[in-house]
Structures are given as C-alpha cells and as structure tokens.
C-alpha cells in the first residue's frame, strides 16, 4: 500500500517534469496525453488506497525522510492516507485527470501547450502534498506550492499587457497572478504563526502528536492557534476580506479555473479546518466566527454574482459563495458535511467551469454573457452539462448539490443559529437565480453573438466524453452521502442532527427547495426569452454596488496598493536618500568642509605662521596659569 501512496503522490510530479522537459518546444499532443495518463495512474492509486482504507479502516502512513531537523524541531517528509486525505486525493486526482484531458482539447491552439501541462501537473503534486502530509510543515509546503502553481497558471498568458480596470477588472493575467500570490502570502503569515504557536506549545508539528497534546494546552493558546490557522485558510479559500484575488484569478485559462479555483486549491482552507478539527472543535469562539464569516461570504459572493456579466466571474463568485457554505458547516462542527460538500462541489463546479470553457472556446475568448444567447443550438452537449451542473449547484434534488448543501443549511438550523440559517437559505435562492441567469443568457434567447461575427462550434468529442465523469458524479454523488458518512466518521467527529431538526428536516428541505426553484423560475422569466436590459436598474445604486464588487477592489487600490507604492517611493526618495544617506554623506562632507576651512589657516605667509605659533604658546601658557589659578 505504501507504494500506492508514493505512486499517487509522485505520478503528477513525474508528469510535471516530463512536460517540463518539452516546455520550450512547440506543442506536442503526446505531452498532454502522457500527463493525463500519469494523472490517471495517480487517480487509480488514490481510488485503490481509498478502497483499502474503506475496507480495512487502517491508515497508510509513510515517512520518506527527514526534512528539517534542528535541535528539538524535527520535520520529516511524512505522508499518510487516511479517510480525509484519501477523500481529497480521489477528488483532486479525479478532477485533475478530467481537466488534463480537457486541456488537451482546450489548449490545442496555445503555443505554450507543453508548459501548461507541466504547471498543471505540478499543481496536482503540490495539492497532493498538501492533503497527504502528516504534519503541518508538510501541509505548508503544499500550501505554498499550490500558491506558486496558481501564480504560474493565473499568469499563464503573461504576455497580455496591463489595461485599465474599466476595460478589464483584473487588469492583466500577470497582475491577477501577483495579486493572488501576495494576498495568499498575507494569509500564509497567519498560517506560519499558527505553526509557531503549535510548535512551541507542543514541541512538534506532527498531526498526531499535536492533537494528542491538545488537552494539555491552555484555551488561550488553542484559540490563538486556531485563529492563526484560520487566517491561513481565509487566504487560500478567498474568504472576506481576502477574496478579491479569486475573481481576478479567472484571467487564467479556464481549465485552471476549474481545477484550481473551483475544485481543489480554494478548498484547501476548508481542508485545513477539517484536518485540524481537534483544534477547532475545542475553540468554539473561533469556530463560530468561521461559521459566521462563511455564511456572510456565501451571501456576499452570491449577491455579486447576481449582476455580473462575465461568464467565468459568475462561476467564481459562486465558488466563493459555496466555500462560504463549507466554512459555515465546518465552523458549526459539521466537518464531514463540509468535506462532503467540498467533494460534491468539486464535481459540479469543475463541470460548470469546463462547460464555460467550452463556451469560451466556441466564442473565441468572449466571456460577456450579454453577447451570447441561443448557443443551445450549436452546443447541445455543453448546454446539457452546464444545465446539469447548475441544477446541482442550485441544490435541486436528486443532484449532488442538494444533498450536501441542504445538510449545511440544516446544520445551521440545528445549531440554533437562525440568522445564519436564514441567510444561507436566501443565498440558496440567489444561487439558483444567478446560475440560471447565466445558463439562460448563454444558451437560450436571441443569438446576440452574431452581431459580433462569431461562429461558435461545439467542443471536441473526446473532451465532452472526458467531462462525463464529472457530470455523472454531479448527478449521483449525493446518493453516497450515508456511505460517506460511515466511511469518514472513523476519523472525523460525526455530526448528528438533533431530534427536533430531524422532525423538521422535510419542512426545512422544502423551504430551501422552494426558494431555489423560485430563483430558477425568476431567472427563466427574466432571461429565457432574451436579454432585456433596463437602464434604470443598471444605474441604480445597488446594481452598481454589486457590479463593482462593493467597490472593494477600488478601495483596496486606494487604501493599500497605491499608498504602499507611494510610501515606498517616499521611503526611498525621502527617507533613504534624503535622510539616512544624506546623514552619512553629510558627515563626510562636514569633515571635508572643515578640511577646506582649516586649510585657510595655512596662508603661506610666514608672519601668520609665526603668529599661530605665538598664539599657540600663549594659549598653552594661559591654560597653565589658569589651571594653576583654579586648582
């Protein structure tokens, strides 16, 4: 079994290096094929591991070698496959295999085809390190690794120049990439601090050691550690206020958005909370904050999705919103539900993104849904996939989203946090609305794209086939909920609804369903026939607020980015050059000047010299007399 761990982990690395070998040569289809195969190998290994764990209930734990070992700090490269990590592994490898295959088609015209596969596989490797590590430091390796791969992939089309924010809210891929990296770094600092707290209080960074020490730790320490770790999670999972990078990250190629910014990387934060649940479960304040923040983000992101015109950004907001759901669940203690939603979400969101990718591919890179419409005729399969995924997202039974999301909403109710519950319910309705607003605007109604001279066409067949596993899972994943529950509670605490909730379960579900369906209906009424824009609405304050993402990117720019650049400039030109360096040079100049000044005593006139001498003698004599008189 240990070899399976290694195969699952290192197959993507091999894939990445292999593709990397050809990174600078022209497009080679076989690179994509080999990469996809290797990823598939990794997927198979993960599934086998999962099967092994499910059947035997035993974890597979390997320690490869020491990494850092200084004094009493020992960090090995240790990997383990337990219920949680194997779930993540399966999800990650599955989605990434699909995305790899998808990319062969999607990226077929890109001259950096090979490089793309290298990055993509590197990402998968990092993600696997993140989920499989048996200690926090290893997690951090993967954590940073996915950050870098995300940076590389967002900025994949680095050659695009910067444009104004009005033209493109993300300015440019490279800008978006940097934004993502730096924002993540801010959160990573929190994560690091969490690690430090844990190390100095438990003497180790190994999960098992740390978790076994928890009872001995002071509550304040635990709270601090949990808070610090969650700050880390906030960055990676793009929680408010570190959320702006995620929508800008849509500058990356769509497969990247599907894999990284929907299915896997952004869920790392949720994974961290789930993984460190022993810490979070004993720190109720932090957990409650997580839940509240998650709920808020769910609502907040959904609201922005309502008015957005950008196909990918809408999905990105929806991802943000769904991440909020997951955090809400995790914060409320329903870790397994969070994990379940994570997996289900991965499937349908990846599918949604890939579908969007198809549209984009067909529309030659056009993303404005106001310029689409009626694509159903040209792209039937894609319509079906996206519709399915949107249904799942909206939580319509019996699709996967229903089971997972409903459970979260139910949990909120169960915990008695009715405000959270209410917001989550409203959000569910908004989710349904914007999902279908997007689907209808894209695929139904008048064919607006014709104005722009675009001739859309359906995606390659093999790509559509490759997407099918996701579609299937988006449909059926929900049915495995109970099985998953029994599988995962070996590791995670079970979360049972109270008797009371249980009774109300049906009603609650119905409320959610009604809200969701009404959202869909509303979208249908408004958009199925075609685009009707209303100047009045679009100029309204709320519409503008939402369309501009509550002006947060602009606020950040005005309050952080620009001042930082200006202060930096000031520090350099004023402080460093005018003060610090000028002081040093000033001392040197003063010495030099006093040399110039004292040089004047050397007049060349002997008479002056004699006067100096006499004067000197006088002063010395005077000092003598004075010292005699005084003392």
């Amino acid at each position: 079994m240990e070899s399976l761990v290694y195969i699952a982990l290192f197959a993507p690395l091999v894939s990445s290096l292999f593709a990397g070998l050809f990174a600078m040569s022209p497009r080679q289809t076989f690179v994509g094929v080999v990469s996809s195969l290797l990823l598939f190998v990794s997927f198979v290994s993960s599934v086998l591991l999962g099967y092994h764990i499910a059947t035997t209930g035993a974890n597979v734990h390997v320690t490869m070698m020491d990494w850092i070992s200084v004094a009493d700090l020992h960090i090995p490269f240790g990997f383990m496959a337990d219920q949680v990590s194997v779930t993540m592994m399966v999800v990650v490898t599955l989605v990434s295999t699909v995305v790899h295959i998808y990319s062969i088609g999607y990226m077929d015209h890109d001259k950096s085809f090979n490089r793309f596969f290298s990055y993509l596989s590197a990402f998968v490797f990092s993600m696997l390190v993140l989920v499989m590590s048996d200690n926090f430091a290893g997690l951090f390796i993967g954590w940073e690794g996915v950050g870098v791969c995300s940076w590389l992939l967002i900025g994949f089309w680095y050659h695009k120049p910067d444009v104004s924010r009005e033209e493109n809210p993300s300015i440019s891929p490279s800008w978006a990439a940097n934004e993502a990296f730096i924002m993540n770094r801010i959160a990573d600092l929190g994560m690091l601090v969490g690690l430090f707290i844990i190390f100095w209080n438990t003497g180790s960074l190994q999960y098992d050691v740390v978790f076994s020490q928890i009872p001995n730790l002071a509550p304040a320490v635990l709270t601090a550690a949990a808070a610090a770790l969650f700050i880390g999670a906030m960055g990676k999972s793009a929680q408010f206020p570190l959320h702006t990078w995620l929508t800008d990250a849509m500058e990356g190629p769509t497969p990247v958005s599907a894999l990284i910014h929907a299915a896997t990387m952004v869920t790392a934060g949720v994974f961290l909370v789930i993984r460190a649940n022993p810490i979070f479960s004993v720190t109720p304040e932090v957990s409650y904050f997580i839940a509240a923040l998650g709920t808020f983000v769910a609502f907040f992101a959904a609201s922005m999705a309502l008015v957005n015109r950008d196909l990918k950004r809408i999905i990105a907001f929806s991802t943000l919103s769904q991440l909020g759901y997951m955090f809400a669940a995790a914060g409320l203690g329903a870790y397994w539900i969070a994990l379940f939603h994570l997996a289900a979400h991965a499937f349908f969101k990846a599918l949604l993104f890939l579908g969007a990718g198809n549209v984009m591919h067909a529309m030659h890179g056009e993303l404005d849904i106001f310029k689409m419409g009626g694509l159903r005729k040209k792209m039937g399969w894609t319509y079906a996939y996206m519709g399915l995924a949107s249904l799942a997202l909206a939580g319509i039974p019996p699709l996967a989203g229903f089971f997972s999301k409903d459970a979260i909403i139910e949990t909120a109710f169960n915990e008695g946090t009715l405000i959270l519950w209410a917001m989550l319910v409203i959000t569910a309705g908004m989710t349904a609305f914007y999902s279908f607003r997007q689907v209808f605007l894209t695929f139904l109604g008048d064919e607006r794209y014709k104005e722009f001279g675009i001739h859309p066409h359906e995606m390659y067949g093999f790509v559509l086939i490759a997407m099918s596993p996701l579609a299937i899972l988006a449909v059926i994943a929900g049915f495995f909920r109970d099985w998953f529950n029994s599988f995962i509670i070996h590791l995670l605490p079970n979360y049972e609804m109270s008797e009371h909730t249980h009774h109300l379960a049906l009603i609650l579900g119905a409320i959610v369903l009604v809200v969701a369906v009404s959202g869909i209906v509303l979208a249908y009424i408004k958009y199925a026939k075609g685009l009707q824009r209303s100047e009045k609405t679009e100029n309204g304050f709320i519409y503008k607020l939402l369309a501009n993402q509550y002006y947060i990117p602009k606020i950040y720019e005005a309050l952080i980015t620009k001042p930082y650049a200006e202060i930096s400039k000031l520090m350099w030109t004023k402080v460093d050059i005018r003060i610090v360096d000028a002081t040093v040079d000033g001392i040197a100049k003063t010495i030099y000047k006093s040399g110039d000044g004292s040089r004047k005593m050397q007049t060349g006139n002997l008479s002056n010299y004699l006067n100096w001498m006499a004067g000197g003698a006088l002063v010395l004599l005077f000092i003598t007399v004075a010292s005699y008189v005084i003392g």
Binding site: I591, Y592, S594, G595, D596, S598, R599, M601, Q602, G604, L606, N608, Y609, L610, W612, M613, A614, G615, G616, A617, L620, L621, I623, T624, V625, S627, Y628
Partner: protein, 495 residues
C-alpha cells in the same frame, strides 16, 4: 689656584662617542677629498656616505648602554633605538641622490658632508640628558637641514628653508627660555637631576606655575619640531618646497630624534603626575591628528598630502607618548620603525616620478592628476605605490597597521579608550586621502598617455623602493622581533 682634575679614559667611556665621531670625521673627510680633487662624481660621495653610515651603525650596535663623558652623554636604550632609526633612515635616503637626472644639491660634495654632520647632530641630540647638548645637537642638525633644503635651488625651496629657519629660530628661543625656567626651578640642566628635584619640590604651591610653565615653553619648541598643531604650519610648505627624498627624510628622522628627547623631558612630568602637561599633550595630539587629516583631505598635491599625513601620524604618536606607559613609549619607536619604510618608500616613488618642469600643474610637482591611470603607464609602480598608501592607511598586514595596532593597544591599556576610538576614526578619515591616490592610479585615465612618469628612475632608487616595499609587506614576520627588541630597550631605559 686651580686644582687639577683627574680623569681616566675608562671613565670617559669614549665608545659612546664613537658613532658621532665617525659621522663627523666622515663629513670632514668628504670636505678634505673635495679640497684635493674637485669634480668628482656624486656616486663616490654617496658610496662614501653609505660606508660611513654603515660604520656608524656598527658603532651604535657595539654600544652597551651607559653614561659617559662626565655623565654628560647618556646612551640608553632609547638613544640606541633612535640612533638606529636615524642611521637606517639616512642610509635609505642617501642613495636617492643617484637619480638619472641631475639636481642641484647633489652637485655639491658639501651636501654629503652637511648630511653627515646633521646625522651626528641628531645622534648627539638623543644621546644625552643634558639640556645644553640637546640644544646644540638640535641646532647642529637643524642648521644643516635648512641648508640642505635650500640647496635644492628653486624658489619654493628657498621659501621652505626660510620658513623652516625662521620658525626654528623662534622655537629655539622658546627652548632656551623653557630651559631657563626649568633651571630656575631646579637649579639643574640635567634631566635626571631635574626629575629628582621636581619629585621633591613640585608639590609645593608657589613653584607649580613655574614648573609647568617651563614645561609648556619646552613643549612649544618640541611641538614645532614634531609639527603639532598649531606649531605645524611650517611642515606642509617645507615638505612641498624640499625635494621629495628630503621631505620623506624630514618626516622621519628629525621627528624620531625629537620624540626621543620629548620622551626624556615630558616623561618626567607625566611620571610625576603633572596632569596638566599630560592633558595639554593629549589635546595637542588629538587636535593635530584630526586637523591635519582634514586638511590632507582637500590637498591637490600628493606630496603636500603626505606632508599633512606625516603631521597626522606625528600627532598619533604624540598621543602614545602622553600615555606615560612603557608600552606607549615603546610604541613611539615601533611606530616610527614601521612607518619609516613605508613613508620613505612613498616619497621615493614621488622622487622617481619627479620632473624638472611642472607638467601637470602650475604649482605642484606631484598633483594627483599626474598619477591618474598610473596602472596603465607603469603597473608595477602603481601597485607599489598603492601598497604604500594602504600601509599608511593602516590596512593589515602592512607595516603601519602593526604600529597603529600597538599604539591603540597601548592607549586602551592605559585606559584611554576614547583616545583609541579617536585614533581609529582618524585612521578612517585618513584612509580617504590615501585611497584618493589609489583611485587616481587605478581607476582613472592617464592625462598624457606616455611613459614620462618614469622620468627620474634609476637602479638605486628602485632598490630603495624594493627594500621599503619588502619591509612594508613582510612586516608581519619581523614585527615580533622588532617589538621584543625595542620594548626591551625602552623599558631598560626606565621609560
């Protein structure tokens, strides 16, 4: 009726006089040779002088420290060390007459005679503790030196000689008056007696003023000799006006001799705990090294820069003298022993590059511009000069570094940490102007792209530079010996 005085030759201890007599006899011999046959080449006189100086050196080496000649002569360790330094420096100086170009002074055989008399004068000056002989020795040497400077025979050298002479005369007045005051307070003009007298009477109130007053008057005289602020004003002009070798010589030999005497005189006061004298010396030393450094920064001429640098070094050493510890006193001579080679080497390099006409400046022989791009014109010369400059700046392992190290260590040991720090900072300031030359030589383009810099070179000059260079670079190996030897001699002399 006068009673006859019985004196045995043994008592006179004549070997103590031998070194000076050799030099004087040699000088007379040269004059005699000139009488019989004129028009002999300077190389003859150079070699004769070398031989005489060598005999002088051997004679000094053969001396066992003692008093002699009615206790007038005092040849102790300090005397022997300073005589060694004087003679060795003179031997390094004399071959510099053998330039490829003719200069006025070397056409006189009298030049060499005067030179030898001057050496004898310095030797007398350091080999006695009688104020009279010190005075006569100083004046013998100085008068010869004034003449030697003027014999370079151009307007700058006259100006230099007159400035030096006039200020020297004033200093002589101070010396005489100071001695008179000391004589008045102690009734003696012999330093050992003065010390005993002062140790008994200095504590009594009414005399203190006269006691320190006499010291201050003497200090003025020696501050002139040692070029301490504000009595240093002659130095830059005299160095500029004198020929380069003589300037280099002046930065070593008269100072060594003056330091030996100053050590004898002021050590009395410092030992007796007359703090005002010590403080005055320290203040003078600090001001001297700092101010001279600052003025050296702004010079346009290398020789003038080296003049200021010599002043600064003298201030540095004077501070060591003021410490009053054996280590400080030994440091004076160790410093000069190490400084000698480097400084003479640097001045010799200037001498090698000396032109008869002023080519690079209206006023200076050796402006910085002259050395611009020297690395391209004479690479070895540039490297050698750079090594001398680095040594002067106190970069290890070159010779002056060890001197600085030792003196700073002495300052620290004596509890004068602040003084040591000032010394350190001054070395840093000084590094600038030494580096300036290095920068000119290595980092700038030549003004005229010719090899005329070599103008005055000759084999003997190269040999002297070679010796100076070897001594500068390998000082790390002989510093140990030097230290042991000088320290032993100085401490045996009771300082």
């Amino acid at each position: 009726m006068v009673t006859p005085i019985q004196v045995t030759v043994q008592e006179l201890n004549l070997p103590l006089l031998a070194p000076m007599l050799i030099a004087i006899a040699g000088g007379l011999g040269i004059l005699v040779i000139d009488l019989f046959k004129s028009n002999l080449d300077k190389s003859l006189y150079v070699m004769l002088s070398m031989i005489i100086l060598f005999a002088d050196l051997l004679a000094v080496a053969g001396i066992t420290p003692n008093r002699g000649f009615f206790d007038l002569m005092l040849v102790d360790g300090v005397s022997i060390v300073s005589q060694f330094l004087v003679i060795v420096a003179s031997m390094l100086f004399i071959p510099l007459a053998l330039t490829s170009k003719r200069f006025h002074e070397f056409s006189y055989p009298e030049f060499f005679a005067l030179f030898l008399f001057m050496v004898a004068g310095f030797q007398f000056m350091v080999s006695t503790d009688n104020l009279i002989l010190i005075f006569v020795g100083i004046e013998t040497a100085s008068l010869a030196l004034y003449t030697l400077i003027a014999m370079h025979n151009r307007s700058n050298s006259f100006e230099a000689a007159i400035k030096y002479f006039t200020m020297g005369a004033l200093a002589a007045g101070f010396y005489a008056m100071g001695s008179a005051v000391i004589y008045a307070t102690t009734g003696s003009i012999e330093l050992w007696q003065i010390k005993e007298a002062l140790s008994i009477s200095s504590s009594t109130g009414s005399m203190v003023l006269a006691v320190t007053g006499g010291a201050v008057l003497l200090l003025v005289a020696f501050a002139f000799k040692l070029s301490l602020f504000p009595f240093h004003t002659w130095a830059p002009d005299v160095y500029e006006g004198a020929s380069a070798p003589l300037a280099g010589y002046m930065s070593i030999v008269p100072k060594v001799a003056a330091f030996a005497v100053a050590l004898r005189i002021f050590n009395i006061y410092i030992d007796l705990g007359v703090e005002s004298v010590r403080t005055i010396i320290l203040v003078l030393a600090v001001v001297t090294m700092t101010l001279a450094n600052m003025m050296a920064l702004v010079q346009e001429d290398v020789k003038r820069m080296l003049a200021y640098s010599s002043i600064s070094h003298a201030g540095f050493v004077m501070a060591a003298l003021a410490l009053g510890t054996t280590k400080g006193n030994a440091g004076v001579f160790i410093y000069y022993a190490l400084f000698m080679f480097t400084n003479l080497g640097a001045f010799t390099m200037l001498w090698i590059s000396r032109h008869k006409k002023l080519m690079y400046s209206d006023r200076y022989d050796h402006p910085y511009e002259k050395f611009a791009g020297l690395i391209k014109i004479m690479p070895m010369g540039a490297v050698v000069m750079a090594l001398f400059m680095l040594s002067l700046a106190g970069v290890p392992p070159f010779s002056v570094f060890w001197g600085k190290l030792f003196i700073m260590s002495a300052a620290v040991d004596a509890g004068y940490i602040k003084l040591a720090i000032i010394m350190g900072l001054n070395s840093a300031i000084a590094a600038y102007y030494y580096l300036k030359l290095v920068v000119y030589m290595f980092l700038k383009e030549p003004v005229f792209n010719t090899d005329t810099i070599y103008y005055n070179i000759s084999k003997p000059l190269m040999v002297i530079v070679g010796i100076a260079l070897v001594a500068t670079v390998t000082s790390v190996f002989f510093f140990d010996v030097l230290l042991t030897y000088i320290y032993a001699l100085v401490s045996a002399s009771g300082f």
